[in-house]
Amino acid sequence: MRRQVEAAEVFAYVDNSLDPDQRLAFEARLRNDADLRRQVAKWESQNRAIRAAYGGVASARPAVDLGRNSNENGPLWLASSMRSRQSAAATRVAGEARAKSPRSAAAAGPHTPSAAPRRLAGRRVAAIVALAAVLLVVSAPGGPPRPQGRLIEAGVAAYRAFAAGADVPVEFAASDPKTLTKWLAPQFPRGIVVPGFSSDELRLLGARIAPGTTTSAAFLVYEDRRGERVGLLIEPLDAPAPSRPNLRELAGISVAVWTDAGDGFAVAGSDPQEVVALTRLVDRTPAPR
């Protein structure tokens, strides 16, 4: 019986199901008990193996991009020009490799190129490969998250299209979060819960379905006392790691993005203070874990 209780505690610990106090007490015991440590290590490694085994199952959908990408240290114009040059170099290398392959040479007929052009082509390929290698080294990942994350882009696009003007109507006008949650339910298999908070500053106008990063998203429109609108994009994602709100500015629009409880959030508006206010209100609403 005692062993069963102990095993249950070990499982609860490795599955992150203990209360904070229980967790601290268990960790204190763990420091003095080698056998307990061995058990925890065993089940934690099994958990990691299961997660790793099924990590690629849903890889058909690209992972959510919260702004972290390669080549973040360089300026944006350099990043885009490097990408285009890399792809051009890759295309040229592939084209020349195709032309040089024995099969394509046979298909081309009895004519064989002379030695001089072949040497020239070889040098050109070597130069392109060297250039591509240099570009790859220069564009190594690292640095802070870049502002053009997919969620940021989706939030800004939705704000521009559906909330930037005070005269743009919402698809479904309702100020009751429960009514909107019900209206959104058929569109999202897992369901999207419209945050229910009370605020004197912000008033919920309604919602619409908007394009997200990989699938459709719910776009909620709020209005402040001055008539300025702020939009909240909520997109169900495939188990992203939770992240804290990240405030950025893109083309004059402030946007805060974060992920929590399997959803991606983007708050967009022209006034950064309103964006921060709405982010605080939404982020404070009850989360699943």
Binding site: F11, D15, S17, R61, T181, A185, R190, G191, A287, P288
Partner: protein, 166 residues
């Protein structure tokens, strides 16, 4: 949730490949969303638990129907096997009975707490802990057994039809 769904439905009995698993998961998602339309949840946590619970319920019903078809002599294509023990954890998970698999995947893959998993599966908390223990022990045994048998098989891949001749 899609990752959980794909992992749950992919067994070595009824769903043998990833394409079938993806199509079944999409179908069950649609059904789950239709059944949850008129009953929205109050917060993120309960919405998540109920969505997973509905998915699990629909999948159980699907499996029961397939099992009944199989018992009636219906034609169900068996998943192919190369006869070798697969040492992967994936194979261990696929070989688990459904009730153990769903508890384990809810907790490990979907990140549910034991209490939320109990709510989603509509069973007591103690039952979840018990199922987790059995599932983990089975996977561990499966992987260990497969590792023990693998070197011999690798050395003698066709040992079954070899005979010692004196």
């Amino acid at each position: 949730m899609r990752r959980f769904g794909l992992a749950l439905v992919r067994d070595d009995r009824f769903v043998c490949d990833d394409v079938s698993a993806a199509s079944l998961v999409d179908k069950l998602f649609r059904q789950a969303s239709l059944t949850l339309i008129d009953d929205p949840a109050d917060d993120f946590r309960s919405a998540r638990v109920r969505a997973f619970a509905q998915f699990v319920r629909l999948y159980r019903r699907h499996v029961r129907r397939l099992a009944a078809d199989e018992a009636d002599g219906g034609w169900i294509e068996a998943c192919g096997s190369n006869g070798r023990a697969n040492a992967s954890v994936t194979s261990g998970v696929r070989n688990l009975p459904l009730e153990l698999r769903e508890a384990l995947l809810l907790v490990v893959l979907a990140g549910f707490s034991h209490r939320d998993a109990a709510a989603a599966l509509d069973i007591p908390l103690a039952a979840v802990v018990d199922r987790l223990g059995r599932a983990r022990a089975r996977i561990s045994t499966h992987v260990d057994a497969a590792h023990e048998s693998t070197p011999r098989e690798a050395a003698w891949p066709n040992a079954a039809h070899l005979r010692i001749v004196k």
